[in-house]
Symmetry: D2
């Protein structure tokens, strides 16, 4: 029995291959997480268990997709980066995006009982949406990552101050919000310190800087302290200098490694340790200390 | 602290709004399910528990997304249909696709222990990819659904015969495959009956016809036996006649229901029973008995 | 000498095939025609020669592209319609669009001396941009055409009144504009009639209704007066009734005519007379009298 | 009279903005030029008048679109390049493509009598189709340009030999084609020289290298002989070294020149001489001598 009579419907499928030689970022976001965090009583402004569950799910995604070179998470969002030479799924946008979203969701639900043993999930279940964006240059990619990390900082400073006013200062949400209208970073630091003896710099790095997830190879590092650095996010202008740590974007066709070399490269990536760090990714240090992230080549 | 320095990266996001007035089908597929089914020892050719888990996950998706009008599943794939007037997420392809894939994955992992209590999941976890395709006319949509159901029939007849040869006939996979090369449906039916006393018509409908998931409203049905019918899939040519049961495609702009009416309509859909049936969706009966599926209006 | 070293650049070409079973409208617009009409002293509010040149160029396009079923022009714009079953250039958007724009431009420049014998073209030359839009249903397509014709009417009534105030009433542009702020159609009709003895209904149909270009076949027409009708544009609500004159949109795959039949059909279209008419295309009459436009089949 | 009833059709327009920070190449091709060249008796293998008409039309396009940084033509095709920072028409693909195709067509028809005074055009008229492709890096762009120029060389050597066999050697087309099957460049050079005393190196550069069109600024050049060089196309491997003459691709957001500076820059481009040269664009010399092409900044 042939299926040809109906098969014409396949002609309606439209291709969605992402432009070659561009960095692919898939950002996923929790759907309706405002209600979700209320339902499961997430702590405010940051719930350590919830953040670590996000990171653990991202770890799962990194393990199942060795093509990913780095990821960055904050709050209920995570950005996953494929190298510009990546050819996974022929670079089909929907396939890349849905695979990441699906794998992340599976791990999130699977690992939930480990992080919230006393709050079993019930429908409606947590879910995530996602989209792919491509960036032509390493500078664009790093600016994207910087954008997310600056956003993390801005939001966390705001939320920390807001919840201090509510939880410690006794204000209601409306009053706290009003108090913060028009304040600058310095003002919020001042409120925290003078009224609640909170030194924002001493807040946990996971809150202030978000979570960077990457593969680490056991080689002598040129920046041994990178993982523990706690320096403040530098002024944005600091990153305008030329990138020095990544291969030039003027590469032509992807260098075709021999098949053996490709396979060896892949194996090294599969075996690499996956590290979750809460560090600055705006300045060059992070990238210079781990040249394999932007080169896409395991050391 | 302003984020404007990096915010230019948002300009790289490209819109992916699906053409208005078209039926949106999101089809999802299990990723690497060949290995997955081996790992968890799914029964061949069909594993009832695995199929019912798929259906239960689809049920979860239908409940969380009242905009969906119908879904159809077979093996490790499921197709979800949004009405042509649907405006959910402004019809953004990535948002619609990832939400379905994510929700399905969450339910699949969440419900797994209920269907496979003796085989706890371990990483790598099950995941699904998906894509959206739009169809301009109800005829195209129905032909898509027919395409999947014919595919179900073709594959199931093949698999049933193949596994009979292996499990009952003692052939190895290679020999069974060879035996089936070039056979027609009638030949396979004959092999099943003459050699294994299997009457293919008596196989469960879930295997032969797949699973249709839709909302049911408690109204006097014009086709009371629809859910139990077990008629063979009709010859493909039977469906070439004009569709008689759905509203014409020549509709202009979506009729703007009053806001109250829209809300009432939505509420009825949310409250409707979700039914999983194993019935023919190629002929007109299914659609004529449930005019709300193609009209998009709750009765 | 092989070219393979550089040929990888072809992989950056992205497909742009338009969704099957949809009506393709390519609308082109004069680029910078405000300055252009000043340079060549086009008459205001309408320049007959300029409009007839547009129509002649559209006629050239219709002759060179027999796949086009109808076109509609007003001012410096023209919309060309390919049937939903059209497979020209595999429905590639850029190819369809650029071919129409290029052919139109060639004819416009080629025919210029015939319509403006005393005003030879000099650089910068006239040019047009264009884009393709697809419509899933015949109702959508007809609403598109109606949209353009209503626009023609609105603009022409405004321009006729504006230029009467300027040319006959002695107002400067600013004063004329101010006079028209907030006026309804009835007000403009009244200004024209009471102050300038102009009955708008007596204005030429080409100005009021634009130009419809289509193929005519010498068959007994069921609406013999269609070409000469001068009835006012009907109230918009008149077109909400169901379309009765076109084939249902619920067609499945394009009926594959035999090769001979397709060839014969094409030949008839090539030989058909191309007609430019200034008539209503909002109501059903136009379409009912020429069923081949929406059916795509030469009678 | 409001137009709102039909205006919903605008929602079917889909955006087609090209990815920022990428080089935009619009390549146009003569439509059906095989027949066209026969109709107007173009000389084989190259018709000087026809090529110079192509170049003159490209010159017209460059003049009307100061955003273009370089163009390259061969036979009946021309590639036009917009700088990666270009924001013309908000980078809408259809607008960029159709404007170039239209302007080119207008000039082609307008200038025809100057180049073919004895062969007036008659319908069907010449037309061109076109498409836009984006390239993320300057290396990709240069490889695209090299691809076209290598293609020019390959085709011209073939055509020169083919037509020598036909016009001088008395072979018919079929025999000439057969003679060339499987021949390498060296073989064709040998056929030309030994049988027809033609030294391919002495063929005109316009035939061998095509036509490069760019803006020239009257500044002391670092490569004064560039325009007259006639060196053979280098082996492809020569261009694998790193680009040294163009700005790095790792630029972030387009540097916002002050409005005055932008305007001054634009004026300089408008006033620059447009040069048509027949020179090598594969090696670095061309680009190094004219850094403004890849930098996008008038000197």
């Amino acid at each position: 029995m042939a299926n040809s009579k109906y098969e014409y419907v396949r002609a309606f499928e439209q291709p969605d291959v992402l432009l070659p030689n561009t960095w692919i970022v898939v950002r996923i976001d929790g759907r309706g997480f405002h209600g979700f965090t209320t339902k499961y009583k997430f702590k405010k402004p940051n719930d350590v268990q919830a953040l670590e569950l996000m990171n653990a799910a991202a770890d799962g995604v990194m393990r199942e997709l060795p093509d990913l070179v780095v990821a960055y998470g904050v709050s209920d969002e995570f950005s996953f980066v494929f190298h510009k030479d990546c050819t996974l799924f022929e670079r089909r946008a929907s396939k890349l995006t849905t695979t990441i979203v699906s794998t992340f969701s599976s791990y999130y639900v699977y690992l939930w009982p480990k992080y919230f043993p006393d709050a079993p999930l019930t429908p409606p279940l947590p879910s995530f949406d996602g989209r792919a964006v491509v960036y032509p240059s390493a500078r664009n990619l790093r600016d994207y990552m910087s954008w997310r990390q600056v956003d993390c900082h801005i939001n966390n400073l705001y939320n920390t101050t807001f919840w201090a006013l509510v939880q410690l200062g006794g204000l209601d949400a409306k009053a706290a919000e009003k108090e913060l209208v028009g304040t600058l970073s310095a003002d919020k630091n001042e409120i925290l310190f003078s009224r609640f003896k909170i030194n924002y710099n001493n807040e946990p790095d996971m809150y202030k800087k978000g979570s960077v997830v990457f593969r680490d190879f056991d080689i002598p590092s040129t920046a041994p302290n990178a993982l523990t650095e706690a320096a403040a996010i530098p002024p944005a202008s600091a990153s305008t200098k030329r990138l020095s740590s990544h291969p030039p974007d003027d590469a032509g066709p992807p260098q075709s490694l021999s098949k053996t070399a490709t396979e060896r490269d892949r194996k090294r990536r599969v075996k690499a340790r996956i590290v979750v760090a809460h560090i600055d990714i705006i300045r060059d240090e992070f990238w210079e200390a781990r040249p394999w992230i932007l080169s896409g080549k395991a050391p």
